[in-house]
């Protein structure tokens, strides 16, 4: 019931930048990874996509960025629109040209290149040198640690620095929408806080829309405007971040709640989610 009520209030106030409607993705022609996902990201909005392992969060992002093909995934149903344009016929690099960028899970920086060359590699060949320097300096302003280490091989950076570089590299493409896959993965809590604050600042200062995928729901709900909850390839709940934060189910199962797990409640919750989906 709460889920339904929350969904009613979910329409973004502004024109959506990204719209997924009823998207279904199949891997290897057999494995159904997401089953009819619909979501919207509004202009300048920060949207969180929450859920456990294997819920379909990363697949949703790859659907948008066009990176399903190398993993033999395929969109079998539904539509993906970015700024009103149908994305599905476009290749991955054409989508980056349109203004969306995907920061992959596990950072995946170019380890044998210096941080500075990582940034240069992501900058468009059509851009001129002045613009490159502007963007690079902007990245270094957001992540001053990268400036200090700009000449060592990126593979030797710490996990947190690599995450910063991965985000900075994505900013070099001048996106309108940045999609982040698990930026908190494997990082110390202090660093998670630092990186999330920077993400919030980028969202606020640059007016850049953000789609944030996280297992760390507490941290994500802290900075997001809106959130969707994915389970088993379905969106099972969505709403304003504050509303979700105070939802008792979310508190119990995603935010740690009282600290003691009631298995009867887990079972009951699972069953109810299946019906709603």
């Amino acid at each position: 019931m709460e889920a339904q009520a929350a969904q009613g209030a979910s329409a973004p106030a502004t024109e959506p930048v990204l719209t997924l409607s009823n998207v279904e993705v199949v891997y290897d022609n057999v494995f159904l990874a997401i089953k009819g996902v619909s979501l919207e990201v509004g202009e300048g909005q920060m949207v969180a996509l929450l859920g456990g392992n294997g819920a379909g969060k990363s697949t949703t992002l790859k659907t948008v960025s066009g990176l399903l093909a190398p993993e033999r995934g395929e969109v079998t149903r539904g539509d993906v629109h970015f700024m009103g344009e149908n994305l599905l016929p476009l290749g991955a690099s054409a989508r980056v040209d349109r203004g969306l960028v995907h920061v992959l899970e596990g950072r995946r920086i170019f380890g044998h290149l210096t941080p500075e060359d990582n940034l240069l590699a992501a900058f468009s060949l059509k851009g001129d040198r002045r613009r490159y320097q502007q963007l690079r300096d902007q990245v270094f302003d957001y992540f001053p640690r990268l400036r200090e280490r700009s000449r060592t091989k990126a593979g030797y950076l710490s996990g947190g620095e690599q995450q910063m570089l991965a985000i900075g590299r994505a900013l070099m493409t001048e996106p309108r929408l940045i999609m982040l896959d698990e930026p908190s993965l494997g990082l110390a809590p202090v660093l998670v806080e630092e990186i999330f604050e920077i993400i919030k600042a980028i969202n606020a200062n640059e007016g850049m829309s953000v789609l944030l995928v996280e297992q760390n729901a507490a941290a994500a709900l802290e900075i997001a405007d809106h959130a969707y909850l994915v389970e088993n390839g379905h969106i099972v709940m969505s709403g304003e971040a504050e509303v979700l934060r105070s939802n008792p189910d979310v508190q119990e199962f995603y935010l740690g709640g009282s600290g003691k797990v009631d298995y009867h409640n887990v079972k009951h919750y699972r069953r109810r989610k299946r019906w709603l989906a």
């Binding site: 960025s65 066009g66 990176l67 093909a69 190398p70 993993e71 033999r72 290749g91 991955a92 690099s93 989508r95 980056v96 040209d97 960028v101 995907h102 920061v103 992959l104 995946r108 920086i109 170019f110 380890g111 044998h112 290149l113 060359d117 990582n118 240069l120 590699a121 992501a122 900058f123 468009s124 060949l125 091989k153 593979g155 030797y156 996990g159 590299r169 994505a170 070099m172 493409t173």
Partner: protein
């Protein structure tokens, strides 16, 4: 052995080695961006030599125009190889791609002599056969020209990989998926690297074709070239230079000493020992990158 003779072996060995570097450069150009060791480079060198011969001798086009035409044709050949063969291999294990390049090598080795004739053809560059004599040392003029061309191309390659496009190509060799994720067209990058390897094959094919004639044996230059890239490191342009010099000098001085004793044929042994020992002792070669384990 007199010192002069030793010096002569050394210098001519170094020059021959740089000529091997010309062949090896193509392998490194592709490896540095596509991450694939191209075993078809020997046949591409042969194909380039056949094309240059076809343009000059069969069609009577002036030499320099013929070389320019060959450069264009081999660049297109590289683009085509990516488009037709390698693009279909995305997501396949690396061993399948290596086998594909080996298949291409064998195919071209049969095709070009089959179409254009298998008897050795001469490709005249007008360098002249008379050796250059410095003091008491005889230097092979054709090899000297080849070595200079090799140095120029190695220098250009070093510069190229520092440019914006070159940086994108290096990024592609690091990680295809994350290259796509930031808008780099991996397909185009790999196509360009094959095209550049095609261009370097023209330099190698024309120069080697002029010294040993144009026929299928040019494709077996693949073996010394593999020794060069394994010793120097598959992804290092500097490795092409240093590896070429070492392979060339060892392959000249050691046979110079041993051949009179054992009756010849030691050069191939030297080349293969370079491959075997490097892989056993230093698998990444002298300058090759070791994979960074830090996560």
């Amino acid at each position: 052995m007199t010192f002069t003779y030793f010096l002569e072996l050394l210098i001519n060995g170094a020059l021959t080695g740089l000529m091997y570097s010309l062949v090896a450069l193509g392998i490194v150009l592709i490896y540095k961006s596509a991450g694939v060791p191209n075993l078809a480079q020997g046949a591409m060198v042969m194909l380039a030599a056949y094309l240059a011969w076809m343009f000059t001798t069969m069609m009577g086009i002036p030499l320099y125009v013929s070389i320019a035409l060959s450069v264009v044709a081999m660049f297109l050949f590289g683009l085509l190889a990516e488009r037709v063969l390698l693009r279909r291999m995305v997501g396949q294990p690396i061993i399948m791609i290596v086998m594909l390049t080996l298949g291409l090598e064998i195919f071209l080795r049969g095709l070009a002599p089959g179409v254009l004739g298998s008897s050795p053809k001469s490709l005249e560059l007008g360098i002249g056969l008379a050796p250059l004599i410095v003091g008491d040392i005889f230097i092979n003029r054709a090899y000297l020209v080849g070595a200079i061309v090799a140095l120029v191309l190695i220098g250009l390659s070093l510069l190229f990989f520092r440019t914006h496009l070159g940086t994108k190509l290096r990024a592609v060799s690091d990680d295809h998926i994350s290259s796509w994720s930031v808008g780099i067209s991996v397909e185009r990058a790999i196509g360009i690297s094959w095209g550049l390897a095609g261009i370097s094959a023209v330099a190698a094919g024309v120069l080697w074709g002029s010294v040993q004639g144009v026929d299928w044996t040019l494709s077996s230059l693949l073996f010394p070239a593999i020794a060069v890239v394994i010793l120097g490191g598959l992804d290092s342009i500097w490795g092409v230079l240093v590896g070429g010099l070492i392979v060339g000098i060892l392959g000249s001085v050691i046979p110079g000493v041993l051949d009179p004793i054992v009756g010849g044929g030691t050069r191939n042994v030297v080349t293969s020992l370079v491959i075997l020992l490097t892989i056993l002792v230093r698998p990444h070669g002298i300058f090759g990158r070791e994979d960074i384990e830090r996560v």
